[in-house]
């Protein structure tokens, strides 16, 4: 079974070396690829200097475009499983195997979830996460406890579907759509670290826009999307 770790990176020169070195040392049975999303800092140079596997996008495509690049690569190279792994050090490598064990039971997508056996802490961000969960429950009937988790593994069929189609961003609305289309999804408990370096992409107004987008998308748009 060929397994690929996709690491989308935008302005992550501070974190990328630590993250990739850990994967290279402890998880050499997995292939990995860093997708540099047209970073303005030295992310690409740092990767090349360290001899990392790198796909270097010449322009910034955003997370969805960068991650799709990784999946396209996985699709062309014939990988069986691909996992999205954040370059900022929030995701912990020890959970990759746990997620792989779960997807090998035959699921299409497995989410590394912070809240399977643990309770959600109370904060504004978690309120947003809860609202998205409720919207997904209403439209799909299935409970996803951590819909915004970025740590997701996809099987071969999903890799192909994500790689070749429009509107397959790695976001909760796509997950919601796929559940409706009959994809099987499971969650396993993981822990995540707080960011060590760099700034989070989501500030308050961006978060509000994100919520609006997700809610309209999950509650309305995804219900009449046609699968190709």
């Amino acid at each position: 079974m060929k397994k690929l770790i996709i690491i989308p990176a935008y302005n992550e020169e501070m974190n990328i070396v630590r993250v990739v070195n850990e994967i290279r040392e402890k998880y050499s049975q997995y292939d990995y690829v860093v997708v540099n999303d047209g970073s303005k800092d030295n992310t690409a140079k740092v990767c090349i200097d360290h001899g990392f596997e790198l796909i270097n996008l010449p322009v910034n495509l955003g997370l969805a475009g960068a991650f799709q690049t990784g999946l396209k690569y996985a699709y062309i190279k014939g990988y069986d499983y691909a996992i999205q792994f954040d370059a900022d050090g929030q995701h912990k490598t020890e959970y990759i195997d746990v997620i792989l064990d779960e997807i090998e039971k035959g699921y299409d997508i497995v989410i590394g979830s912070r809240f399977v056996s643990k309770k959600k802490p109370f904060s504004l961000r978690m309120l947003g996460s809860n609202i998205i969960s409720v919207a997904m429950k209403i439209t799909t009937g299935k409970t996803i406890k951590d819909p915004t988790s970025g740590m997701r593994m996809f099987n071969k069929q999903m890799i192909e579907e994500f790689a070749l189609n429009m509107n397959y961003g790695p976001e909760p609305d796509t997950i919601s759509y796929l559940i409706k289309q009959g994809a099987t999804i499971s969650e396993v408990q993981v822990e995540m670290d707080e960011r060590l370096e760099g700034e989070s992409y989501l500030n308050f107004s961006r978060s509000m826009l994100y919520m609006l987008r997700m809610l309209i998308s999950i509650l309305f748009i995804q219900s009449f999307r046609k699968r190709k």
Partner: protein, 133 residues
């Protein structure tokens, strides 16, 4: 407003929404962009069914006719949308330039490299032939 006119407004806004939804259904546009049109078409339906949503603010502002208020608001929304699209357009063109330039420069570099290799090869060949003689 006459009853017939209201029916026409409601039908037109419903058909607009239906048209937009159909295009989204067949993945003709990205969800990010669809959101704006969904909200706008809902707004149209809402206004056509409940015209009081327009008459109240018209009276508050002191405009003469509700239709003026509708024109003003819709034109303003479209103006802002047009400007935002100009920004997106510029950014896209910029990215396209970057891509075309990158491809062209990469191709030039790889051709240069090949030429260098060919000259190196022929020099080596000449040297070898010289040795043989």
């Amino acid at each position: 407003m006459s009853f017939a006119f209201r029916i026409i407004l409601i039908l037109a806004s419903l058909m607009t929404t239906l048209y937009i939804v159909r295009k989204i259904r067949y993945s003709k546009l990205q969800i990010e962009y669809a959101i704006f049109w969904i909200i706008l078409s809902f707004l149209l339906i809402l206004i056509s069914i409940f015209p009081v949503l327009v008459t109240i603010p018209t009276n508050i502002i002191g405009m003469q006719a509700p239709v003026n208020f509708v024109f003003l608001v819709i034109i303003f929304i479209l103006l802002i949308k047009a400007f935002m699209q100009t920004i997106e357009h510029s950014q896209l063109e910029n990215k396209l330039n970057d891509l075309a330039q990158k491809i062209a420069i990469d191709e030039k570099i790889s051709r240069d490299r090949q030429k260098d290799m060919e000259t190196a090869d022929s020099i080596e060949k000449m040297e070898n032939e010289g040795k043989v003689k």
